[in-house]
């Protein structure tokens, strides 16, 4: 009778605690360990493409992002003025809606010389506004200010405005736009190469504020 009630694997160690039972069944313990290994392997194979999917935006090369885009006729920009220009981002995707629009400040220095600034403040990315009378860009967020050539004037930014590369093809002005400019991603919009004529040397002479000490030195005491 007992023969019938016993399961095939059940044997003499009925009274043993579970750990001892497991120890006795070395084959099953081995198989369990093997199954754990199997799942670790399957899990790894499963995880690689998932992580790749998750990191998709990161893995894309920065230099591949963006393209040249025409932002207007050269004649639309009077020499000596700085104007706001809207354009559709060349890297926009389905469903971006209004966020696909980008604005930039175009400064025409001379007939062939331009500067195209991102509107994003170099501090934390808020949109800077141009004030022609005082020749300053001012940021509404934390009070960053920039001179007309984009160099830092005051406030928390640690550098000048981000600049786009530009080129003049016939009568149209094109810029290279891609990544939203931040301190880490500005490289794609302001690279050292190509035909963009960037003003590497800022014309503006920065005069150090005279301190009391330096002034009093030259005076007779």
């Amino acid at each position: 009778m007992s023969e019938l009630l016993h399961s095939p694997g059940e044997s003499s160690e009925v009274g043993l605690p579970p750990q001892a039972k497991a120890a006795a069944h070395s084959r099953r313990v081995f198989l369990f360990k093997l199954s754990v290994l199997l799942n670790a392997a399957v899990g790894t194979v499963l995880a690689v493409p998932i992580v790749g999917y998750l990191l998709g935006p990161v893995l894309k090369k920065n230099s591949e992002t963006g393209s040249w885009i025409t932002i207007g006729e050269v004649d639309a920009f009077p020499v000596g003025e700085t104007r706001l220009v809207d354009f559709a981002s060349p890297v926009s995707r389905l469903g971006d809606g209004q966020t696909a629009k980008v604005a930039c400040w175009v400064r025409r220095i001379s007939a062939q010389q331009f500067q195209v600034f991102a509107i994003n403040c170099a501090h934390l990315g808020c949109p800077v506004r141009w004030f022609a009378q005082s020749k300053l860009f001012m940021c509404p967020c934390h009070g960053g200010a920039y001179y007309e050539d984009g160099s830092r004037a005051s406030g928390p930014p640690e550098r000048g405005l981000f600049e786009y590369q530009y080129k003049i093809a016939g009568s149209s002005l094109s810029i290279h736009a891609g990544n939203m400019p931040t301190l880490a991603t500005e490289a794609s919009c302001s690279g050292p190469n190509t035909g963009a004529r960037r003003m590497t040397e800022k014309e503006l002479v920065q005069i150090e504020p005279a301190s009391v000490e330096t002034r009093s030195k030259s005076w007779p005491v």
Binding site: S89, C139, C141
Partner: protein
């Protein structure tokens, strides 16, 4: 009748028994709800944790209801919120409940944390409960930030820009982080989708799981007893003492202690409803169109203090502070119970703890207050909005009045106020001539410095002359003009060849 009543009761009991026999959950739940707790913690000071849980449930329910209408797509989100506000019956009220519920939840969670800290309830054996609680606080703040993005208006758009800019400052991986946060090269559809995923799936899942673990540990270790000065927490004796206290003074948590939690939770819910009804939903503000630059983005209330701190950090230390201080602060909160797990619990014996709470609370309050009116930001419309007060124009020469025009036209008012109107970035100019001499004003205007841009390129000599002449008339209520004492010294020593420094005469204003 009696037999009918008896039969209904019997049927209910047998139904319950059938269910409980198969489910087996009610018994343990009732048992843990009625667990004995020391009578001294059945207090109004111990009601904040349960209120936070109730608010979390409110947020989950209202959030699900909002998701019935909200469209998490960059080109539709803003419109769907307008639709909720104006076209869906009571949509505005659900949005208001969810928005105010979030503000209340942050406030209650912070109060709960301060209470636990001041009562020393994070000490042995509840260290892990505190650590999980810190994670829950961070998750709550994460919900608040991602929730602000869901509004997908101008503030949300530029707030994302600020987040991306902070991420871009991380060394080496900054670029990768920006793209991970934004989900692509620009803020757009992918950005909203991933913040929606965080706000609706990832963080709520972690939050609910975390609350479960937090509650489980509260039940496991019991609600902390009321701290007494001199009653020292020691790992060797605390659990036995707590057990004895519970046996001696224990009362069932439900109903003897829980009624206070219930009353407070009801009061909080009522306050949320009142705020939602009277003050309405938050936004959405302008459309998320980055070409509309006539905007002054601002984060939600809970993050105003961060916004303010970012205005005051000098550029040279800004990135390190931005990246290191949050890590240290969070690490400090996490390891607090591990380094101070024993000893005094009562606030009267822990002056440093009280001081820390006071300093942090005052700092957060001050920075939040500053964040509400942003004195560091230029007032972009000030130069065209506020006229020069007529009292500063009366009895002035034509040149001086011309200078007032220059002051307006060159946007000086955007940062400098006259008679209380204008920006506060720079000092008010009402009494500038009593603080600076003509030479100093000229130098400051042309060369800038001390956070003022140089206007040398924006002013021609005649404009400068007019402007400075006007500024020289601004001496408050006829204060004495500023005098450069060193110039007098130089003149005296050259003219009189006097070896001793000349004494300023008493009539001369200093």
């Amino acid at each position: 009748m009696a037999s009918l009543k008896k039969r209904v009761v019997d049927a209910a009991i047998s139904g319950y028994e059938w269910l409980e026999n198969r489910l087996g959950l009610f018994g343990p739940m009732i048992k843990s709800a009625m667990h004995p707790t020391p009578a001294n913690n059945a207090s109004w000071m111990y009601v904040f944790g349960s209120a936070a849980t109730v608010l979390l449930i409110l947020q989950v329910v209202t959030g699900i209801l909002l998701a019935l209408v909200y469209s998490p797509s960059a080109n539709e989100a803003w419109g769907s919120l307008q639709f909720l506000n104006h076209n869906v019956a009571l949509g505005w009220y659900l949005r208001a409940l969810h928005g105010w519920g979030s503000d209340f939840m942050i406030a209650i969670v912070l109060i709960h944390m301060v209470q636990v800290f001041l009562f020393g309830a994070y000490k042995f054996p509840r260290e892990l409960t505190w650590i999980v609680g810190v994670v829950l606080l961070l998750l709550t703040l994460g919900m608040a930030f991602t929730g602000q993005v869901m509004r997908f208006d101008q503030d949300a758009y530029w707030g994302l820009g600020i987040g991306a800019s902070i991420a871009s400052r991380v060394p080496f991986v900054g670029e990768a982080l920006v793209h991970l946060v934004v989900g692509g090269p620009i803020i757009g559809a992918a950005t909203l989708s991933r913040f929606f995923t965080l706000h609706v799936f990832v963080i709520p899942g972690l939050l609910l799981g975390g609350v479960g673990v937090h509650l489980f540990m509260v039940l496991r270790h019991g609600v902390s007893d009321w701290p007494m000065p001199g009653r020292i927490v020691s790992k060797a004796t605390y659990e036995r003492e707590y057990h004895e206290l519970t046996e001696k003074t224990g009362i069932p948590f439900v109903p003897d202690a829980a009624w206070k939690d219930a009353v407070f939770a009801a009061a909080v819910l009522f306050s949320v409803m009142a705020c939602a009804f009277f003050f309405g939903p938050f936004g959405p503000s302008g459309q998320p169109d980055p070409t509309i630059i006539q905007t002054a983005p601002k984060p939600d209330f809970a993050f105003l203090w961060i916004y303010a701190v970012l205005a005051f950090l000098p550029p040279s230390i800004e990135t390190p502070v931005m990246l290191v201080v949050p890590v240290l602060a969070i690490a400090g909160m996490l390891i607090l119970p591990l380094i101070a797990g024993e000893g005094e619990r009562h606030w009267a014996r822990r002056p440093v703890a009280v001081l820390m709470v006071s300093v942090i609370a005052v700092s957060l309050g001050v920075f939040t207050r500053l964040g509400t009116y942003t004195p560091w930001s230029p007032v972009m419309e000030a130069w065209t909005s506020y006229a020069v007060p007529t009292k500063y124009l009366a009895h002035r020469t034509p040149l001086e009045r011309q200078g007032a025009l220059v002051l307006q036209d060159k946007q000086c008012r955007n940062c400098h106020s006259l008679d209380g109107a204008g920006g506060q970035r720079g000092p008010a100019l009402d009494a500038i001539a009593s603080r600076m001499t003509e030479d100093q004003i000229i130098r400051q205007v042309l060369q800038g410095g001390g956070n003022m841009p140089a206007y040398g390129n924006a002013l021609n000599p005649s404009e400068t002359k007019a402007l400075v002449h006007f500024l020289m008339t601004l001496r408050g209520n006829d204060l004495a003009p500023a005098v450069d004492m060193s110039r007098k010294l130089a003149e005296t020593s050259e003219m009189e060849k006097a070896p001793a420094p000349a004494q300023p005469s008493p009539s001369e204003p200093r």
